[in-house]
Amino acid sequence: MLGNPRRREPRCSAASRVRIALWATLLLAFAALLGGCTTNNPLSTLNPKGPAAHHIYDLLVTWLFWPAVVVFFAVEGLLLYAIFRFRGRPGDPLPAQLHGNTRLEVTWTLVPALILTVILAVTFRTQAVLATPPTGEFITVRVIGHQWWWEFQYPDLGVTTANEMHIPVGVPIQVELSSADVIHSYWVPYLAGKMDAIPGRINKMSLQADEAGVYSGQCSEFCGVQHAMMRMLLVAQPQGEFDAWVRNERSIPSFTAGVTPGATPGATAGVTPAAGAASESLVTRGAQVFANGACVTCHAIRGTAAQARVGPELTHVGSRRSIAANTLTNTPENMRRWLRNPQAVKPGNLMPNLNLSDQDVDALVAYLQSLK
Amino acid sequence: MAVVTRGHGEPLAQSPTGLESLDVRKLGMWAFLGSECVFFGALIASYFVYRPLILAGDPKPHEVLGINFTALLAFILLISSLTMVLALNAIQHDRRRAGAYWLLATAVLGTTFLGGQAYEFTKLAQEGVTLSSGIFGQCFLVLTGFHGTHVFLGVIWLLACFARAMRGGFNSGNYIGAEIAGLYWHFVDIVWVAIFTLIYLIP
């Protein structure tokens, strides 16, 4: 009598399919939960190591996740119950023609409104905590986004570096964000939420590391072709190590200061470890390639004539853990790969393929690796 | 002719909203004008976002914009609004020829306004205010330029109405075409009221 009898489906098969789908969804959710808990992902927001990230995590888990789980199961449960309970059969009489129930309406308007008010209040509290600027002693770090790398300036410490930010553990950091070109977003999920780096503006956020460690960061505002590889590292280290790092960063690297570099650079450069002198001459040649080639048009190395600010500062590049905005770990092999053709590693990035000869590349690698 | 819809003589007791009696074209024009409000609102808002920079920049708007000249332009638009309602009034009273000439007068006044604006733009260009000369030039020229574009389209519309009026296309039973052109024209006028105050007069 209702609908089209030819197309009526057998009741049980549809029901069982619903059940299968339901179980599959639940299993999937459970597996996802497990997956989320067991891995230790370098960009995870669920593993806070700093107060800002902690506050957000607490807000998320306590005040949003668990209520959401309850609401999810309650409402989806209601829906599924209605779907299973009220399945019609052929020949069923017309159900009661109900139009509504004002008391119910008021209830399901007010109850969600109340829940949301509570969450909103807690949100405001967390917001206030996060917005409090650091008091007492803190370090200011100016972060400048570039396509597609990060520049870090420590105005009070006289340090400028790239792609690897160092901070002392337990000390509040005031991050001042800006950009040299397009909008980027600075994000170290273990320590704090993200904040946009907007050209022409300065945005401020504070973060702090409670544990020493090397944390991953990434640009999280779409900024062009190599947005995916605009990564960075944040090294949180004890005060003593940090001070040592600052001292080293402020120094002029040994080679350019005229001090003979040790034999190690040559060895790490993967050049046949013939003699210290051989690698030394390789380093010298690298310095010449750098100074006479295209490198100086973009990069700066303090203590030399190279003072351009287009690309990352390279004064202590040999001491960094990664190169190319944390795209490659900093090994001589990787650096060779990078210098041979940067476009093959990060297609579309702003460092052109300089078509360097293999000897030049080896020399440059030896030189850059010596800049500790 | 436009779509004729029902609603006339219907038992209104069953359609108590009264919307059935409205003219479709007028309703559509008003919906469009509501949209235009936001259009100019967004333009003016953009101007005001840059206003601190504009006032700090060089040249300063009040140094290059002649208030008296612009007041004259505002008067011209005001008069054109008057001639527009008079045109409609004449048409509604079946004074067709008068209606046509009032329409023509409105179009002429609109053209005068455009001429004045062209003069103002050239004068500004001579003083170095162009689209690419800086934040003031671009904000001012785009805002007033889009208003001018609206005036320009309005003038064309009015001329079309004039042509139709001369052919006897409007009369006391058929004047909606002129009325919606008038609505558009008055809207362009009130936008100028806002621009005149917000951009030219407010210090």
């Binding site: 609401v71 209601l78 209605a82 | 219907e10």
Partner: protein
């Protein structure tokens, strides 16, 4: 109202116009019939939807494994930008408009839209605009800046190609089409309702179409301005959004999201309306809490304008502004929740018939609950600091726009298909489509919640191994293939239904309550043989519930048509004078088919090309020809109107 057979188009003496009209394509190219335009809207948006879906599969294939080199990064950026742009502006929105175009005039008992020619113009401008946007792929590269096109990445210095120009000009065309269409809907719904159809008797789909149209006319001007300013930046040397010239990139974001957030409701509200139509029909009881659903839609429409900056929490607006916009965003959750509860209330106590439309409607609710909940987490600024621009947001928007809008629109397609084409879609294939889509959808997008919380940023063309992203990206990609297959099943289903011999579909196969089911399937050109008079919210159900029907002045049976001699209808039809129907008090004059809307739309596209091309010869050629087309068509159009 028992006409089972469409009124045949009467043959008149063969004029040249008549001969031309015999060409099949002409019937579509020059049509001003809202039903044909609606079908063209649906067909075109489905085609664009398939293109956008293909782009989505390319994106998912690139992300199937870490450091994959399937797509060049720049091509990847083009593809994901065009995926979003296509789905939003060429897929979901026009599909809602198409369904609305077909159904709304029928629902309110009208013969056509208020401005049939403008309706045709809206469609053709949308259609050409969509083609224009997609031409960018073969004309120097598609836009590659994301559908939000944040300045200054879209500015000349950072993007010298023509991609952003295609994007901004194409969107400008689509915006004009949308505003024209929305004005049309507003006037149609306010003005052309059948006698007796008060606002509180308006079908809910018509309600949301009205609200959506208001959102369009008030939200689109904002992006129009943003696009104009960007166009001046790119083509005329200004620097509205270029910091080096004093511009502020944040202005772009404000203007964009002032449009962009209402746009989300423009996409979801029609689907909500469809679900509100489908649920009562297949539950065999009236919608629960009609007025609450209607008012909550109005509330969502209003609140939609107060929350735009929640897309900008991390731009450093400050905690006060963030808090204010968070409050609005939380607030909007309340009317949304009210809707969900009312839908469940409609199912509750019903006698559910699980035909494909109801399956999709239930799928909509189930998915939308998840999308709503994840929306609440994103509305909280501190949580947003972590989750924005990650895959968590990707999951959220797809739960709303795919799990919501697309499921709802498919419910509508299966529901109204027999009305539109006089044929059913195959029920078995429909169910297979639903289940595959449901499973594929959740397999694709549910893992993205985890990817997001585990820190996978959006819009990255690749990711590294050992970041914990491999497994769920693989699952998501496999899920997306399932989704692709499910959509193919729909395409096959539609194709098969067209191939099958015509069946006689009764006027009201689903036993629905609204006016479109009182006329034949498919309806005649003039829709109704006589103007229906409406006495309640459920004109075709009044025998079910004589007392309970809201607002009924007196119990009547079904639609009370204002009676006219039947031969009056048969004598006119869609002739040279246009279909003329009813007595003197109810003159419907359907305008004749006309080609001018097509020409005007084409002229506008030519002008867009003129702005795009740098070489003066091309520029002037296109500008002049565009203007000629425009002037000629406007002149012809005006002549037609005033004749």
């Amino acid at each position: 109202m028992a006409a089972q057979v469409a009124v045949p188009v009467p043959q008149q003496e063969a004029s040249p116009l008549e001969l031309r009209r015999e060409w099949y394509g002409w019937q579509w190219l020059a049509t001003v019939d809202h039903k044909k335009i609606g079908i063209m809207y649906i067909a075109a948006s489905l085609a664009f939807f398939l293109i956008g879906g293909f782009e989505a599969l390319l994106v998912r294939t690139q992300l199937i494994s870490p450091l994959n080199t399937f797509l060049h990064p720049d091509l990847y950026n083009q593809v994901f930008t065009m995926h979003a742009t296509t789905m939003i502006f060429l897929g979901v929105m026009p599909m809602s408009v198409g369904v609305g175009n077909y159904v709304v005039p029928l629902m309110i008992g009208a013969a056509d839209m208020a401005y049939p020619r403008l309706n045709a113009f809206s469609f053709w401008l949308f259609f050409f605009g969509g083609i224009f946007l997609n031409l960018s792929f073969v004309m120097g590269g598609a836009p590659n800046t994301g559908w939000f096109a944040y300045a200054p990445l879209t500015e000349r210095p950072f993007n010298p190609g023509t991609g952003p120009d295609f994007w901004l000009l194409g969107l400008q065309l689509l915006g004009i089409a949308s505003i024209a269409g929305a004005v049309n809907f507003i006037v149609t719904i306010l003005k052309m309702r059948a006698p007796g159809m008060t606002f509180m008797r308006l079908p809910l789909f018509t309600w949301v179409t009205l609200i959506t149209s208001f959102l369009i006319i008030f939200a689109f001007p904002s992006i129009t301005i943003a696009l104009i300013l960007l166009m001046f930046d790119r083509l005329a040397g200004t620097s509205f959004f270029l910091p080096s010239g004093g511009g502020d990139p944040l202005l772009w974001q404000h203007l964009f999201w002032f449009f962009g957030h209402p746009e989300v409701y423009i996409m979801i509200l029609p689907a909500m309306g469809i679900v509100s139509e489908v649920l009562p029909v297949f539950s065999r009881k009236p919608i629960f809490g009609y007025s609450f659903i209607a008012y909550s839609s109005v509330a969502i429409g209003f609140l939609g304008f107060t929350v735009w900056a929640h897309h900008m929490f991390v731009t450093g607006l400050g905690e006060i502004a963030n808090g204010a916009f968070a409050t609005g965003s939380f607030l909007i959750g309340v009317p949304t929740g009210v809707k969900i509860f009312n839908w469940i209330g409609t199912l509750w106590g019903g006698s559910l018939r699980f035909r494909t439309p109801l399956l999709f409607a239930c799928g909509f609710i189930a998915n939308f609950i998840i999308g709503g909940i994840s929306g609440i987490t994103l509305a909280s600024p501190p949580v947003d600091f972590q989750q924005t621009d990650t895959y968590y947001v990707v999951a959220h928007i797809h739960y709303v726009l795919f799990g919501g809008s697309i499921f709802g629109l498919f419910a509508g397609l299966y529901y109204w298909w027999p009305k539109m084409f006089g044929r059913f879609l195959n029920e078995g294939l429909g169910k297979a489509h639903f289940w595959l889509q449901m499973v594929g959808f959740n397999l694709t997008f549910f893992p993205m919640h985890w990817l997001g919380t585990e820190g996978m940023p959006r819009r990255i063309y690749t990711y590294f191994p050992n970041q914990g992203f491999e497994l769920w990206n693989l699952v998501a990609t496999l899920g997306s293939y399932l989704l692709g297959i499910s959509i193919l099943i729909f395409v096959v289903n539609a194709f098969l239904s067209a191939r099958r011999p015509a069946e006689v579909v009764p006027d009201n196969p689903w036993e629905a309550a609204t006016l479109e089911w009182s006329t034949t399937s498919p309806p005649p050109a003039h829709n109704f043989d006589a103007v229906p008079v409406v006495y309640s919210r459920y004109p075709l159900w009044e025998d079910r519930d004589p007392e309970g029907a809201h607002g009924a002045t007196a119990p009547r049976t079904n639609v009370d048509a204002v009676s006219h001699p039947a031969d009056d209808v048969a004598a006119t039809g869609e002739g040279e004078q246009g279909a003329h129907q009813g007595g003197a008090a109810h003159a419907f004059h359907l305008p004749n088919p006309t080609i001018f809307p097509v020409i005007l739309a084409f002229g506008l596209v030519l002008i867009a090309f003129a702005l795009l091309f740098a070489p003066p010869v091309l520029k002037i050629t296109f500008l002049v020809s565009g203007l000629v087309y425009g002037v000629v068509s406007v002149y012809g159009w005006v002549r037609q109107v005033s004749d």
